[in-house]
């Protein structure tokens, strides 16, 4: 992965056939098929499908949609609109277990829920299930959800400096030992909630 080569790459496909393999292996419904098509290094098209839940999220490049009973005769499609939810005692923030390697949570007013699935962490807040998530993952973990959550008003903001991840850049990803893996942790939230959520996260 070098920037010169990336700059000459019009499209990047990032596919995760099963995101949430641990949950899938345990027959739990929170796993998904994720596909993202990145155009000119920016998120463009995305599809995330949860077959056991029959829920589909996708972005057509302009708008994003949430579909219940997906691919069935009675499917219901709703356009995803920007969410501007205020944090409250019922708010939930998602993370995975690796979060605790370097951070800890200062519980106050709202709480965390640990999912072992990046696409759940990313897609659910786009329809109001939770207020955001915390991730450091491979590109195929987030590429499908990336354009979808942006339509809901969410962005990836780097924990260290708040910089928004809005395009693929070589220096943001590790080469070794995990290629296409984000070097740093990102907090995914709306702009209004970013600082508030960040204030609950403390480094070990």
């Amino acid at each position: 992965m070098d920037q010169k080569r990336l700059d000459q790459t019009p499209y990047i496909w990032a596919v995760d056939p099963i995101d949430g393999t641990r949950l899938y292996a345990n027959r739990m419904p929170m796993f998904g098929i994720s596909m993202g098509l990145i155009k000119d290094l920016k998120p463009w098209l995305g599809v995330v499908y949860f077959p056991m839940l029959k829920e589909l999220f996708y972005c057509d490049g302009t708008h994003s949609y949430y579909v219940r009973n997906a691919f069935g005769p009675d499917e219901i499609k709703v356009q995803i609109a920007p969410i501007n939810e205020e944090l409250s005692p019922r708010s939930l923030f998602f993370c995975n277990d690796t979060f605790f390697d370097r951070f800890y949570w200062k519980p106050k007013d709202f709480h965390i829920l640990i999912n072992a699935c990046a696409v759940v962490n990313l897609c659910w807040p786009a329809i109001g299930r939770g207020v955001g998530c915390f991730l450091r993952c491979h590109i195929w973990d987030f590429a499908g959800s990336w354009p979808i959550i942006r339509q809901a008003g969410y962005d990836f903001r780097r924990v260290s400096d708040g910089r928004i991840l809005d395009k693929v850049q070589a220096d943001l990803f590790a080469r070794e030992p995990l290629s296409w893996h984000l070097k740093e942790y990102y907090l995914i939230s709306t702009e209004r909630n970013f600082q508030e959520i960040l204030s609950r996260i403390a480094q070990r």
Binding site: P17, I18, M35, W44, L45, V48, Y58, D60
Partner: protein, 55 residues
Amino acid sequence: MSSSEIYLERMLEFAREAGGIAMDLISKKRSRPQERPLHYYTGGQNDFQACPSET
């Protein structure tokens, strides 16, 4: 159709097919025939016996 519509259609098709395969596999796992007899504990240390055959 525009390129985005064509790509999206293929992506949705892939998702539907992959989801179907995932569900088939998980269903097969659930209904996999018992390969070894079930054992039950009869009281003593290392005292397990095969359950009477259900067949």
